[in-house]
């Protein structure tokens, strides 16, 4: 189980990496932490002819505070993001979701940028970034552009990133004070790919849900966020009955498929159970 041959290029700066991308075109792939890419290469499911190593670019892994947002360098390792005080304080949903991401050793090496660009449909981080309204800063031959997470994540393992572009930073807006949030996941074993994830952000004002954002992985829907579920909650009394109705909408909107580990009916049951648990927990966390 060994990878195919490739040419190795070590980029020393973002500009260097972008230049290398332009030079090698679709023969090249960026190598960050390699925790998703290298297994695929070992199985020879992918065989890039050129690997551009962006793991040694100074500053690409910095986490800083911007204007109302946490700015996370694409090269930041998962464990660093997860343990970051800034992230825990301002984006607790992201920190919370991270407890479900793989295992410690994989998180030591895997990067947030690599995870996002790989865009495994079961992956937790793309889901919560979508809910958090994150922006993704891409560097290309013509300079930088910023893409909202909503439009960045396309289908399975597809993103809006162009062949000659590289993700350099993720800007995650602060979660407002008083907001309730929750992340629930079921996987067969701890650290495995999620069967279903449920993520929630909301506020509770005068006994009603507001600013609701709800999303799922594993639902088989086009988008991670489910507008229908959000509508079923927005402005409605923050009661169990509202939650039950919203969860039912989620199940109705979902279109999961059978796979080896889980059948569609099970995924619908999980959407219902995890959706309810997440909404209840978010409601409990929200200050009234």
């Amino acid at each position: 189980m060994k990878p195919s041959p490739f040419e190795y290029v070590r980029a020393t700066s973002v500009a260097d990496a972008v230049k290398a991308l332009a030079a090698h075109g679709d023969r090249a792939k960026l190598l960050a932490g390699g925790q998703s890419l290298i297994p695929m290469m070992n199985f020879r499911m992918v065989a890039p002819e050129v690997l551009i190593d962006i793991g040694n670019i100074p500053g690409l892994d910095e986490i800083t505070i911007g204007d109302g947002s946490v700015q996370i360098g694409a090269g930041a390792r998962h464990n660093v993001v997860m343990a970051s005080d800034v992230v825990r304080q301002h984006c607790p949903l992201l920190a919370d979701a991270y407890s479900h991401v793989a295992h410690f050793t994989i998180r030591n090496r895997g990067t947030i940028g690599g995870n996002i660009c790989h865009h495994d449909p079961a992956s937790e981080v793309p889901l919560v970034l979508t809910l958090l309204g994150a922006s993704l800063v891409l560097a290309g031959p013509k300079g930088n552009r910023t893409v909202p997470a909503d439009t960045f994540f396309l289908g399975m393992m597809e993103t809006a990133i162009a062949e000659d572009e590289m993700l350099v930073r993720i800007d995650v807006p602060f979660q407002p004070a008083g907001e309730g949030w929750s992340f629930h996941e079921m996987s067969v074993r701890k650290g495995d790919y999620a069967i279903v994830c449920a993520a929630v952000r909301l506020t509770v004002k005068d006994g009603a849900f507001h600013d609701v954002r709800v999303g799922f992985n594993g639902a088989g829907t086009e988008t991670k966020r489910m507008a229908g579920v959000e509508q079923a909650l927005e402005g409605k009394p923050a009661t169990d009955a509202t939650i039950a109705a919203a969860v039912k909408v989620a199940v109705d909107l979902s279109d999961p498929s059978d796979d080896v580990q889980a059948d569609a009916a099970y995924k619908r049951d999980l959407l219902s159970a995890l959706g309810r648990r997440a909404l209840e927990q978010a409601r409990a966390r929200a200050s009234n």
């Binding site: 060994k2 080896v260 099970y266």
Partner: protein
Amino acid sequence: MNVKAKAKKSIPASRQREVPGQDLKWIGQNMKRVEDPRLLVGEGEYADDIALANMLHAAVLASPHAHARIISIDVSKALALPGVHAVMTGEEVAKVTGPLPCFGSPPVEQRCVALGKVRHVGEPVAIVAADSRYIAEDAVGLIEVEYEQLPVVADLREAVHAKGAAVLHPERGDNNIALQRSFKFGTVDEDFANAKTIVKRTLRWPRSGAQPLETCGAVADFNRGSGKFTVHCNTSMYNYVGWLWAVSLNVPAHKLNIVPTMAGGSFGSKLFLHKVPIIAATLARKTGRPVKYLEDRLENLSSCDHHGSDRYYECELALDADNNMTALKCDVIDDYGAYFQFGIGHHGNALSQITGPYKIRSVEANITAVLTNKCQQGAYRGFGSEVSNFVLERMVDAACDELNLDRLAFRRQNFIKKAEFPYFIPTGNLYDSGDYEAVMDKAVGMLDLEGWRKKQAEALKEGRYIGIGLATCQERSVFSSTEFWSLNNVPGFTLTSSAEGVSVKLDALGNAVVKLQAPFWGNSPETMAVQILAEQLQLAPSAISVAYADTDSGLSGTGPGGSRYTVMIAGALVGASKIIRNKLFLLAGHLLQAGKDKLELRDGKVMVKGTEQGMSIADIAMQAHFFRLSFPDEPEFDTGLDANYTYDHPLTTLPSDDRTDLGIFYPIMGHMCHMPVIEVDIETGKITFLDYVAVHDCGTIVNPMTLAGHVRGGTAQGVGTALYEQYDYDEQGQFRSGSYADYLMPKVMEVPPNVRVGHVETPSPFTEYGIKGGGEGGRMGTPPALAGAIEDALRPLGVRIDALPVTPSKLRGLIRQAQAK
């Protein structure tokens, strides 16, 4: 049956030399393992650690199809790749290398590289030797094969009816039935006719496998000068049937030396490797250079030749008016995959303890072994009897549920009682000894069953579902080789030896070297040998070292398997020690001017009994090796201090010709009681362990710490089989478990945090010191215990567990169905 059988059958006299219950110094201690220091610093010598000068590396082109005819293979591009030294197709291999060994009868032909057609995904189609494994894999990618697809047989029940092009091995007849046979032991028809209650269940045991963390590997060298192969391999059984490789390689057995490496786990799955070493040897002969072939994980998952049992059962259990179990009937279809290396031995194994610890007096077993387009079955911890444990315990729980009986009391009522041993079961096997009530009582006490019942009731009020499981299972040990063939329609090679040899040498300084005939494969053979020999010769453990014999120097040795190894090397070491002791006493007697019968061993010395007069073993050894003229000119005083001893099976008899009696073939009978406590999240199907008690009776214990290691490790594997693991094939025979992200084994979060292990010691009257086997450990009992625990938890919902693995998705499905009722 039992009384009559006893009248008809006689039990061979015990050959036990060392009786149980002695005051022992080393046996019974929690001695730290002597294997560990070198393993802890990374100096274990595993297959991939073997590197020979000029060594090449092999890779295999694996079939992407489940069943297809090979129309053509073009290897020209692969051969042209720089760094490639050989590419061989099945046709080229067949010119020099014959079929692989097969114990099935009549045999099913298997080649190390497919010839003419492929029969499962992952089967080798061509092999490559190159400068590196990387280049070898590049070459594999350049081989072009044209296939013609054939109908696929992927379902075991459909396999029974397959005909024509769907037949895997047409030369054996126009069907995919490897073997079909019906057995009746005792008055089964009468017992069913007279039954008050008949409990029926359909049960499904899933295809799982050992998956040791080290895959199978071999480094083969062919010396053109001598025409001799040397093969380093992590196989076992090389000193038993290793010569069969020579048959495959078309050389006389003395032209093959098999050198064992340490194995990074086996659990049965390296029992007798054939494909991997034969591929390496075939390429070594072709290239004239040493060749390493180490399976990668995908190859091991899809083509290791050692998938576990995969069975569909229809069972009936008969009970009389007093709720005594009287008869058991099992119709079983077993999916053997594409080949039949170990034949039907797995069912012989099951029949050794088919009635469990219970006084069931008759048995009907209708066995259909089918061939399908999957990797073949081999061995995995239990070798088929773990399945019959599951089946029987499920039937027992089912009987309790249908008759509203207490699961403990019903078992107790039906147990064979302590005073009734040795006890013949209907199949003709003998249970040597046991005390099943003591084991169960100990487990119940350790668990605090009453306390958990209270917690269970409280939890249910809060909508939480706690369940307590119970399994009381047999752990047969020390197989006799008759089980390999006694069920065959055509008996085939009816071997009756399953011996274990040992060489012991005391060097001139009085230190002992023990040579074993079988490899380290994760068990503790060196520690066992040291503890037993230290006991026998009253040596300090630090004065004993252990080595592994290759086949050039080896004695007969069947190796670990069927929980036999500790019992068998104990027998061999007792025999060898007796020879050494006699010589020591002979020499010391002469030097000390004392009669042999006046001498004894004491702390590394030969002492005159009742005195402080004596000589150290080291001094005697020096005399024995270098001072011949100190002794009389009689042959028994000749130079040297060593012994070879081969110990045969302690208690085995032949089956009857009509096979209404299978003979004694697995008599050293251990027992266990497992009691897990779990909680089920009924919304997600997730199972959490709250407690786990496992009490085992493995007779006299050599090392409680390592035995508990087997119990806990086996329990974790049992958790895997029960809740997670399955080699999954779709209806087209495509393999869907080709990675560790798909074949899910428990990691630490999925096993009980604390398996509390208890021991009961009921010594065997037939083995040295009364030791019984225990290596297959918890996997023999955990699956039924967990199935029972899940049912117990979900009793308010009425969920029934008939099939494993109970994955979260499947369990939630069962709960959903129950809730819909």
